[in-house]
Amino acid sequence: MFRFIVRRLLVTIPMVLVVLTLTWSLIRLAPGNFYSGERALPAGIERNIREKYGLDRPWYVQYGKMIGNTARGDFGTSLRYEGQTVNEILGRTIPVSAAIGIMAYALALVVGVTAGTIAAVRQNSRFDYGSMTFAMLGISMPNFVLGPLLVLLFSLTLYWFPPARWDGVPSRSMVLPVLTLSAIYMAYIARLARAGMLEVLRSDYIRTARAKGLDERHIVIRHAMRGGLLPVLSFSGPALAILVTGTVVVERIFALPGVGNYFINANLNRDEPLVLGIVAFISVVILCFNLLVDVAYGFIDPRVRY
């Protein structure tokens, strides 16, 4: 197990390097630059800017500097936000995105697994149809529709929660973003849990358990859920990684100072150091969460051995 983890962590390094190189090249290939605007700059001012940020140096020098800085964990200073280092920006935005993301996922997990399991146990009941209809609705409704609908109902009609902006953890400003973000995951998890549980509940070892006279509650919670929720676990790695690294749409609708909001603007602004910093962060998080899921498999599924 230990060797497996070390090996996987070592593979992460070249993968992040490839991702960074590709991102760096793509930013370079895109026309325009961070200082261009509707107003054309005189040539002299453009030259001053290029000198100030080292853009007048050959590409391999700039690439080498980028790799060297990344190796030291220093992504440099943002081109758009004067005097702010990428690490400062990440340090400020990751907690916001992570708080919203983790809470949304926890909510999705609790509600989704509960609903999915009950639906599987009581297959074809009213609860099954009802919860799966809601799940279908959750999957089909994009968060840019759900978010404004929740705002309309809870902020502009009932005045229960603020319609946008961030007041820290915990605060009422978290409620609507968490609900909006969790809906689709809740729905997916409910469907995955139901399908997984249905399959397991029909398997031989559950039949054996029933034959032995174990009570149904014990069978479902102790024996069936362990195998039945493996699809949910596989889904959790990438899903949680996406949630924690910021979701552009929800952060924009609710004006949250998270990674997603910065990421979209960094791209539009051609803010190279910030784009690279965020891409590196997202890559590492995705690779680590996938590793965590694989490790968790080893504990949950007796058929998996490392």
Partner: protein
């Protein structure tokens, strides 16, 4: 099952659809409850790139700079014309090329130290320092040797006599010193191309231009003289721009780029920085040491950087903010909101137009350009856009009092078709024939955005309907688009917009005074440049405006562009926010703004913007 779904979803949907129907009988949009005390909550647009007024470039930044820093002049809250600020008065010489500003002795930094003419000398030199690489440095290029210093240029001097070579020694009649590029390659190229220049500089030494050479000088602690390279009657108006504000030498030299952090910053304006949480809020508090502190009514302003229009409107409706910046109402909400009394709809110092690529056929023919212009019904376009006024001239209408604005060609389909026939697109009988027009050589290029697409489709339909020509549309990501447009890589027509820097028609007419840069059309005419220069040398403001109008008429006759719209301010403020006016630049000098708690004194509509 069906019944169950209906039971659950029915009331929810009914409630939501009920909420979605805006109430049309209320006078104001959403809650009208003033915040406690004198606190203004303002949506300021995108997150500011910096709080350094000399480095920041956008309007969202500008509005925040205006709280923290002050210049020699500031904007009048109603007209955006310059009014005294740190300078209490100024003298101008005969040809508007030298300005002497008299600073008030009571002006102080937030530390209590006096703000002197030396601070302005430092600020201007810093703004022009090539190492700072300020994008707005070009605004100060009117100042003597400012451009040469900013571009790292050199003077040429006779090492024996110590006399500098003048421009008149090479060409023209200017008595200013000759400036050559600092880079050797560029300098050699320029010298090689001009035999007279080669002779003038042979055997002479090159002297780098220093900050001290710029035409800015402190005559004493409270008198500042600024010398320009050319007459510029609009120069005092520019002094309110944030690039020219006083910045604190002590903090900058101590903290470098981090001098704008709340712990380090020293301010010269009516407010100080209390809190800055990027992408969340910027809070400024009243500066008790400000020279006019007694006139400042607000205790605090909270700027909320936000970018999503719907989110802004939700916050405004819920009463969580008191006012928004310009262009914040989503187009689909306008039919309802335009009727509200808290909607601010006035002409803005901003235009939308299309450029013609005059270097390639068929748009290299003036008649074709004129025909394309005359085939667009701008009145209908303005009605369609809602937040705009029609524009036939090039300078925005209703902004410059006393300016005899010329009119461009009116909407006239018959004449447009005649012009195209005259340009050679006709059948055997001499009638206009759309089939002969090389439509494949023309396309309409715009940067990707919903509103740009709508305008492009409208104009496309007009050309199709009125001229029988289908011009294909092409959109590009903004920064990619800028490169294509600047390099004249577009076929026929490209979108453009312009926001004026100061309240003078010259800020628009100047676009076509250089062949490259913001011009983008490939058209450039020295005769037009001479007309502008003549106007700026004219002392009498009325006469100057007449000469500028003549230049504009000349420009409109050549038609290198197709004027479309003057934009509207398009923002909202609660009726209890007073001292904030729909002025042409949506620039609010914050010291005049306050919260009125007495409902009897609230605004019931747009406040009167007449000075």
């Amino acid at each position: 099952m069906k019944r169950l779904t209906l039971c659950v979803l029915g009331p929810a949907l009914a409630c939501l659809s009920g909420c979605a129907a805006p109430s049309t009988d209320s006078e104001f949009f959403g809650k009208v409850e003033p915040p406690e005390g004198q606190v203004l909550r303002y949506i300021s647009g995108s997150e500011p790139s910096t709080l350094d007024p000399q480095v920041g470039t956008g309007q969202p930044e500008a509005r925040i700079h205006m709280t923290l820093f002050e210049g020699l002049t500031e904007y009048h809250p109603k007209t955006t014309q310059p009014i005294p600020a740190i300078a209490e008065r100024w003298d101008v010489n005969d040809d508007s090329s030298e300005f002497v500003f008299h600073l008030r002795s009571t002006a102080r930094w937030s530390t209590g130290d006096p703000i002197t003419a030396h601070d302005f000398v430092y600020s201007l030199r810093r703004g022009l320092d090539p190492a700072l690489a300020a994008q707005n440095a070009y605004m100060a290029y009117y100042i003597l040797h400012a451009q040469g210093y900013n571009e790292g240029g050199v003077f040429v001097r006779d090492s024996r006599t110590r006399a500098f070579v003048l421009q008149e020694d090479v060409s023209g009649d200017s008595e200013l010193r000759l400036v050559l590029p600092g880079s050797e390659a560029a300098r050699e190229k320029q010298i090689a191309e001009d035999p007279k220049l080669r002779a003038a500089v042979a055997g002479k030494e090159l002297v780098p231009i220093r900050a001290e050479d710029i035409g800015v000088e402190a005559l004493d602690d409270h008198t500042l003289r600024i010398t320009l390279t050319q007459p510029a009657p609009f120069f005092v108006g520019m002094m309110a721009h944030h690039f020219f504000m006083a910045v604190p030498r002590a903090a900058i030299e101590k903290y470098g780029v981090r001098w704008t952090q709340p712990d380090h910053i020293i301010t010269s304006g009516a407010f100080t920085l209390k809190e800055w949480r990027p992408y969340d809020r910027i809070v400024v508090a009243r500066n008790p040491l400000y020279w006019d502190a007694a006139a400042v009514r607000l205790d605090e302003i909270r700027f909320y950087p936000l970018e999503d229009q719907t989110t802004m409107m939700n916050l405004y409706k819920a009463g969580a903010v008191d006012a928004t910046y310009n262009h914040t109402v989503p187009a689909s909400w306008l039919p309802i909101i335009k009727r509200m009394k808290d909607y601010m709809d006035a002409p803005e110092i901003a235009i939308e137009y299309y450029m013609f690529n005059t270097t390639k056929p068929p748009m290299n023919d003036k008649r074709v350009r004129k025909a394309f212009n005359m085939a667009v019904d701008k009145e209908a376009l303005a009605r369609f856009r809602v937040v705009a006024k029609p524009l036939t001239a090039f300078t925005p209408e209703g902004i410059f009092p006393g300016y005899p604005q010329p009119q461009g060609d009116p909407f006239n389909v018959a004449r447009a078709r005649e012009l195209l026939a005259e340009a050679g697109f006709r059948d055997g009988s001499g009638q206009y024939d759309p089939g002969t027009f090389p439509a494949r050589d023309v396309e309409l290029l715009y940067n990707t955005s919903e509103s740009n697409r709508q305008v492009a489709e409208f104009v496309q339909a007009q050309w199709k309907q009125n001229l029988g020509i289908t011009v294909p549309l092409r959109n590009m990501e903004f920064r990619t688009f800028l490169v294509a447009r600047a390099n004249l890589e577009y076929k026929g027509v490209a979108r453009a917009g312009w926001i004026g820097d100061y309240i003078d028609p010259y800020t628009f007419l100047d676009i076509f005074s250089t062949p490259t840069g913001n011009n983008g059309t490939g058209w450039w005419d020295p005769a037009y440049v001479r007309m502008l220069e003549q106007a700026n040398r004219t002392l009498d403001p009325g006469q100057r405006y007449e000469l500028l109008a003549k230049a504009e008429a000349y420009l409109l006759d050549v038609q290198p562009m197709l004027p479309l719209l003057t934009r509207s301010t398009d923002w909202m403020k609660k009726p209890y926010v007073k001292g904030m006016y729909p002025n042409p630049g949506t620039m609010h000098p914050w010291k005049f703004v306050y919260i009125e708690h007495d409902p009897a004194k609230w605004d019931s509509g747009m406040p009167d913007s007449r000075p």
